[in-house]
């Protein structure tokens, strides 16, 4: 059975949150949450959706709720 494509996508505000956290570097955030910088780059570019555990750790790093970092948005094509 073909995989049903989701109409929604996960977006994030990590770049904005980094800016407000005194321009925190991707490397610094990666160190805090315990992943590689490449993973942070991929998440920021919406190329990788993190696990719930990692999503919570990222939210914790900025001291905000998970909903303030990630959003489940309707895809807008074209």
């Amino acid at each position: 059975m073909p995989k049903k494509k989701s109409l929604f996508r996960i977006t994030n505000k990590i770049r904005t949150l980094r800016f407000f956290a005194e321009e925190m570097t991707q490397q610094k955030l990666a160190e805090i949450v315990g992943v590689s910088r490449q993973t942070i780059i991929a998440i920021e570019a919406d190329k990788y959706s993190p696990s719930l555990d990692l999503a919570f750790r990222i939210a914790q790093a900025f001291d905000v709720s998970i909903g303030e970092v990630f959003e489940y948005k309707l895809k807008v094509d074209g």
Binding site: V35, S36, T39, A42
Partner: protein, 165 residues
């Protein structure tokens, strides 16, 4: 290029070199008729020896790769931050080599392709047996497919690392 990409490339290159060496060696033995085609014990021994060489080569390459990678980071840090102490340097090296959930997911996704190749090669080797082709061909199809699957595994891994999941 990230640590994961470099590690995958090192593994792939080792796999390619060993596969080429095996194909060259086996073809020379076969064409020189050094061993009879139906002497399966000889060919099995040859494949076993190459398997052992392959495992040892992968271990040695991994050790060398990690040593060289660490030296590379240490040199880079010494040039850019000469006053950095050993403890900080160790921390930086460990951070560069971190393996996270994304890397594991990529590894699993790429392994799936490797399994497909091995599965198909098993089917192909059974077909050759059913068609009456010497068992030697079946043995070689299996061995080459195993080596090829690890190379394909690496290529898919590189693709996912570059393009994202």
């Amino acid at each position: 290029m990230s640590y994961q990409e470099k590690k995958t490339l090192a593994n792939m290159l080792t796999g390619v070199v060993l596969l080429v060496i095996y194909c060259f060696y086996a073809w020379n033995k076969f064409s020189a008729q050094a061993a009879p085609i139906d002497d399966l014990a000889y060919w099995a021994r040859l494949i076993l020896i190459f398997l052992i060489i392959e495992v040892c080569a992968f271990i040695v390459i991994q050790i060398l790769f990690h040593i060289l990678f660490s030296i590379g980071i240490a040199v880079r840090e010494k040039i850019h931050n000469p006053d950095r102490d050993e403890k900080n340097l160790d921390k930086i090296i460990n951070l560069e080599m971190v393996e996270d959930e994304r890397d594991k997911l990529i590894e699993m996704k790429s392994m799936r392709w490797g399994y497909i190749v091995v599965g198909l090669s098993f089917g192909a080797s059974l077909i050759t047996l059913a068609a009456g082709v010497p068992t030697l061909v079946m043995l070689n199809i299996m061995f080459i497919a195993f080596s090829f699957s690890s190379i394909l595994d690496g290529s898919v891994q590189l693709y996912y690392l570059r393009r994202g999941l």
